[in-house]
Symmetry: T
Subunit: 150 residues, 12 copies
């Protein structure tokens, strides 16, 4: 199985506990368990990490260079404000899929600017926890293409 | 099987013939065949339509109200300029998933404004023809939730 | 009776069927019948046309040069995006009254830019189907002035 | 008869005296007389007031809460600059129809921003003194709907 | 006791009568009475004035130079549009505390520009009628500092 | 002698009393006396008026139509915000010279937008009380030209 | 002779009939005849097409891939609003010369943004029907270079 | 006593040591002691925390959900740049009062945009260390209202 | 007599020859003669210079430091584009009065930005050749103040 | 033969020597020779001038009033920054055709603003040295029209 | 020797490992060794620190107040987004030289806004690892001036 | 020794004479002498040139192609306004280091846009005359790299 990182940005540790009407009733742990299970079907070994700290997320991306084949990344609030995370994604050279729980292009205007998008493969947004599953499927497809074209 | 519409916007009829390095070497017919096949696995009966005309796309959305359970829509160049298509999506009341072949948030600035996003469920962009497959999977998930919550 | 065109833009064919709380419960046919009746009181022979296609609307304006004395035009979603319709209105040289069902200046910011306004006589917006009636009354007044000043 | 206020903003006291080619040759008094007469046909008791003072216009709107069923308001130059008038219209809770002599969306860009539009029922612009008549007709229609739906 | 002016801008005379859910159920008179009482605890002799006229508010600020030690000022709708009030605050040389009933930075974008802020000591916003009480407390603190540093 | 109006906008009644380092040590009365004297040398009968109220300034402009040959106008803080004063200047048809004590183009950015400039003959700014004298001289020159060309 | 397409956008079918002072007195047919004649001198076989429909223009560009060596294109009002036409020009891979009757950079600001320019060879604007002739000459020059460099 | 959190953002640990002319001569410890004392008068048990790290501030807000009744928060430099802190404030569901030492609306333009304001109860700015005291008073008032309305 | 420089920017050498309806029928030489004569009445020895070259105008300002007491400067088209001229005016330390023939604040938007204004004493615009005379009068007044305050 | 000026702006003296892949391998002299030859076929006596100095270009335009019938002008880098050149073109009253080697509307955003376009007859851009030839042809056509309509 | 801090922002720990074509083949350790060596020649005792965390960088700046004479700071991605780092630089009162490996003014537009620049002594950008050496030389020069002027 | 050009833009000839508090007390000649001396230590033969004329600076850059190995360029006020200088720097193909005496990113907003930066190697700003020395050192480093990599 190919090891991949699912990286959760700020405030996502509160998932399931608050505003379930908006973000769903699943906790981050439950989502992570589902992602591990889905990963196995896709031949992906899913590792997960969450932090509220921009620096810790950068560190995690840097470390992923040593062991992961790709990243599914929900930068949450840092999507719209962090040039440093953009530079980190660009620097590590791994395929990164940007995911969001909500359809951020349909929300406040400041959520419609993404510093991260320009250095990711693509974006999936608006499908709740399923956005992550779709992100894993997209990543699996990309990794297959890499193999078949090598 | 639940009938769904996969709607292709302007210039997508040229897929596979030109700029295969950018958009892939599959023709629109080949993609459509794959989507029909993927749909069967997801219990979706996939119908496809393409037009270069804004008005014909609006007509197709209107007609889908009579027979379809949801839409996977690639508005292509009209994404960024058409208020009329936005109003059509809003008017028909069906779940619509916006898909794009390329990661439009990483391209020219004028491609980063979407009139359509605010009235769609979510957006999937950047994965070539797989964006459509992921769109069908997202739509299937949404339709399942509708059933289980009814 | 003076012949006039009432021209309906994109998505207006859905009137009455969807979102009646917003746009009223009258269908486009019922509105058109009322407009024909109101027209008779104003000595106007009302002809109506609807299309979702920008090109077909331009064609209709061009043709109106041959038979109509004026136009009541609801460009709907094309109001905010179509330079071509603006040029068509400017080219035909007929008096054109712009009407809208909703008070578009009170909605999203992108609905507050009109390419068409600068070449119309005036705008009436926010009164539902009555906006059309007010538009006919305005047009009748303008046509009377033409006669009295000739 | 239902009492209504026709409220005239700054500089409208000069009507008829200056720039008749632009604003028509009728004085404000003559227009007011016509509005009273038209009002009677519509079962509306028309009261009129003009002031060049933003504060006096706010006061007039406040007082109208005690006696009027609705307002036809031409805010003139204050349309584009007055948040205070916007708040006044929002506060009084009466139906207010915004009218303008000229087609302000076709004039200077600074005349295309309206602080007042968002809290009015609708806007009628571009038909000279007839804009007021159309405004009374629109208001009459709205008041009828209130009755029939209560 | 030190005399101070509490100055209320446009539409605040309607407090308590309309939209009590938003602005509270206290009338301006009741609020003024509370402010006079709170003032006594803070050794402040509170005088109050309200006007809907920009010019009258400027006059009141000018006159306050002759008798008041400071001002608690709610410019309401004029906050966002009045350079003249800004100049008045700057000219009189008294400490002025800007207060607002609602949290204006959380409302429409045009309410987030303040011409007055740059010449006031500070701003308190979002606590309903208590904003005025907090404003008096802030002013009392500032006046104490003036004494102790002189 | 030709009668002319020198019109002073908001806060100018404080001249000489506050910030003499910025605005000079002359009071408005002293300036007015000098303007009357200078006017006599230029064959101009100078009448002066000051108000802090936008509405009162509009009224004064309207009335000047009945007796004055021209206006020297310092709109002060209203320069940058008042469409209504612009419309008043445009409506009265008299030659109006815009004057400012300070060099407003060298101050805050919001003071660099003038709604009034486009309908005035010209602008003189930055010379303290002498700006008014230069304004009278400019107006005298313009009135001479009118005579010689008639 | 090398076959080329001259493609006319919306409202150009009215040429010669209306506003001859602006757009000249030649009809579109007469212009087309002149272009065919000029083409022969340049060894170009000129085919012409006009449509008011954005979709039909896209179709025409797509079809030109099968038979034409280049395109002279006047997108008229769609110049400023159509991303779909831009994508069509980019997709077909033919040399495209953009032409305009009027000098659009000297007109309204919204006419100064072109979505199409970035994917065309060059632009010729401002010379009436001669713009087309110059466009054919430019295209002939480009086609010669292709031959001489192959 | 009701437990509340006073949360200090970046650079506030330097208070009193540097630029005392701007920020006052009290150290953060001294201010905290005063806040604890003031809290006791208001029946509030004040806990304080400072960090220069955006992530640590988010963590502190998350943890406050478990024990605090409300928060007085000075986000300092993060006010203007952090969507993640905004999301944290929105997520925890506690009443949060935004405070600032200086009158940030009177400083650089980039300090006039607040991502945090829209999800706080209100803002108090410009009164030095007293801004915190006023913030505690505001919070105490809000908590009283909660009790009296329950 | 005090020596002063009257400095004319680009295209002013054409004065009187072209567009006399706009810029008057006096040639630059005739204007310069009038300015010398007016200067004598004001005890000013007027020297004039014109150049179409930005560099030559900078040189002239630099040299004026050695002999002139002040400058009346019409930067014409460079007003809106030259940071270098701004820096030159700031560097020489002489009082500089900005003059313009036309009322530039009433013309195209790009003429409403002045790089030069912020470092000049004041601006006089809109009075044709009389703007220069008013500029000399303004300069004379400023030089008198310097003497009386020294 | 009618004498005309071909005017080359800054950096064009380097043509052919540098970046031949972009600007072609012809030197400015070689291009000028071709233009003289083409001119003879068009009955135009072509005179050429190049300068890197904005002032010298203005001088050349002024002098052309005395001898030339029209101008083909490539303002190069000054296109986007020079109001003075715009004023010069407007002042001389000759027909001026704007040409550019590259398709400037397809390059950096700052190259898409032209101060010169609004006062030229038209623009030809994107055809390398052939842009000049097309410019001469356009000018010849315009001069013919002048004759035939006189 | 004078102790100084060389502070490296986010992602700089990856130097030399990735994208050597862009950022050079030296690792951060190798660069640091060179800086220590260069420092000795300049009588500077160079201490280095790197962190991906905004908070840790702020902490490092705060601590430098206790021991360092100046700072050479590469804020990397935080340059463009961090008001908190700006406030930290302003608060510590040490001379800070801003350095960048690449010429950030020549890159994406969002990299052309620096929150940090306004509170630094100067900026050096575009010379790879030599930017740091130049930064040490600049700092050494500034420290010499301090001594010689004391 | 390698010959290099140090090129000084407008107003720098006044260095040392005026505003020594801002720009230092060294004259341009004294700075040039220091640069020649520093150059010798770096094996650079330093030639210097200053002009206030944009055209003369372009000429100097063009000529440097024939003899210089690189340029240290202070474009001063032209930095922010000259596309022509940008094109000149791009055309000559020499390494160019941009230097500024002051930290322009910390000054007025219009000084924060540089047309020149995008075509220079890097920028050094804020260190007074030492900016030039650092510029020479940067250039020397670049030239060494060219040798070692050839």
């Amino acid at each position: 199985m190919k090891p991949v990182l699912v990286l959760h940005g700020p405030n996502l540790n509160l998932l399931g506990e608050r505003e379930p009407g908006v973000y769903g009733s699943l906790s981050l742990d439950e989502i992570n368990q589902r992602l591990v299970a889905h990963g196995q079907q896709l031949d992906l070994e899913v590792h997960t990490f969450q932090s509220n700290s921009e620096g810790a997320l950068i560190d995690a991306l840097h470390e992923a260079r040593g062991w992961a084949r790709g990243v599914v990344f929900n930068p949450a609030g840092y999507t719209h404000t962090s040039v440093a995370l953009r530079d980190a994604v660009a620097a590590i050279g791994l395929p990164v899929v940007e995911v969001h729980l909500s359809n951020i292009d349909a929300r406040e205007e400041f959520r419609q600017r993404s510093f991260v998008a320009a250095v990711c493969l693509g974006r999936i947004a608006g499908f709740g926890w399923r956005s992550y599953v779709l992100g894993l499927q997209a990543l699996a497809g990309v990794l297959e293409d890499q193999i078949s074209s090598s």
